[in-house]
């Protein structure tokens, strides 16, 4: 590293330490309301990369969006270690990614923790055991044309009632 580069690095560090004026949440809501929900055209995927998750957070979910800029490989790669896949209406099977011309939406839900919350005796019905599940809903929007990806991770909680089977 040259002296110039070292000194530039010090100036850059000074600048990076300065707190920035943050975009207002109102902006997130304006952009998200424009983008709509559910179906994603290519342009929408690009725009969503610029949007914060604030609106989604307001709806009870913390969403993280990021452009994953891969190294320019043509072949699309969707990380699906556990093939529990739900597709939206607009989605396309993974096997067809190479010929598909639009963004692909892939979702999976991972359960991270399950805790039993006791028995419930429903009058006139069978007893049930209540379980609370916490996990993450992951959504990938992939553009096979350029292998760019928008990732979202939404924390989810739900409750499941399981009928108790007598021995």
């Amino acid at each position: 590293m040259s002296n110039d580069e070292r000194e530039f690095r010090e100036v850059e560090d000074l600048l990076r330490r300065m707190p920035l004026a943050e975009p207002p949440e109102r902006l997130d809501r304006r952009v998200l309301s424009m983008a709509g929900a559910g179906r994603f055209r290519r342009a929408r995927a690009f725009a969503l990369a610029a949007i914060s998750a604030a609106a989604a957070a307001a709806a009870g979910a913390a969403v993280t969006l990021a452009i994953m800029n891969s190294s320019g490989r043509r072949a699309p790669t969707v990380p699906l270690p556990n093939p529990v896949v739900r597709r939206s209406e607009a989605a396309t099977p993974q096997a067809d990614l190479a010929v598909f011309k639009g963004p692909v939406r892939v979702e999976r839900q991972r359960v991270g923790r399950t805790s039993a919350e006791g028995m419930i005796d429903v009058s006139g019905e069978d007893a049930v055991q209540r379980y609370r599940r916490e996990g993450v809903r992951e959504i990938w929007l992939v553009d096979p044309d350029n292998n760019r990806r928008v990732d979202m991770a939404i924390p989810v909680k739900d409750t499941v009632l399981v009928k108790v089977e007598p021995y």
């Binding site: 000194e7 530039f8 010090e10 100036v11 850059e12 560090d13 000074l14 600048l15 990076r16 300065m18 707190p19 920035l20 004026a21 943050e22 975009p23 207002p24 109102r26 902006l27 997130d28 304006r30 952009v31 424009m34 983008a35 290519r42 342009a43 929408r44 690009f46 725009a47 990369a49 610029a50 949007i51 914060s52 998750a53 993280t64 969006l65 990021a66 452009i67 800029n69 553009d143 044309d145 760019r148």
Partner: protein
């Protein structure tokens, strides 16, 4: 989201006021959403170009001069946080940094914002500004040289 802050900061640096910056980012996203075809090239460069153009257009519509944006460029920093969350001794440092950034020629300031706060590569900056890579890199270098002189002793 990776570029949210960078896009807004660029819009602020160009437009000069939070409301105008918000409108610029909103308008840029509307343009992207309305596009029938996928934008060519790097999406980050495309978005920064769209926001910059919208901010410049908005400034023209308001009849504001570049000097207005320059004087308001200090607004890219969070004044409240600077006043309350920073060690007392940093006030002078903060003031000098704000003044140094505001004192940059507009095109150099944009380059600094794109690089430092937008995290763009020189290639992406060249794409966003529609200029040769060497021009953009040289502009950034001049900005850094100037800031280095202005901020000498602070590092």
């Amino acid at each position: 989201m990776r570029h949210r802050q960078g896009l807004f900061t660029l819009a602020l640096a160009v437009a000069g006021s939070p409301d105008a910056a918000e409108d610029a980012v909103h308008e840029a996203c509307a343009r992207v959403l309305a596009a029938k075809e996928s934008p060519a090239g790097d999406p980050a460069a495309y978005l920064f170009a769209a926001v910059r153009n919208a901010a410049v257009d908005g400034r023209r519509r308001r009849g504001a001069a570049a000097a207005v944006a320059r004087s308001a460029a200090e607004g890219i920093f969070n004044g409240r946080q600077l006043a309350t969350d920073r060690p007392e001794g940093d006030a002078e440092v903060d003031r000098r940094i704000r003044e140094a950034v505001s004192g940059l020629p507009e095109e150099q300031r944009e380059a600094v914002v794109m690089r430092i706060y937008g995290g763009l590569t020189f290639e992406q900056m060249a794409g966003a500004l529609g200029e040769p890579l060497a021009t953009v890199a040289s502009r950034y270098r001049r900005a850094m040289e100037r800031l280095r002189e202005e901020l000498r002793g602070l590092q």
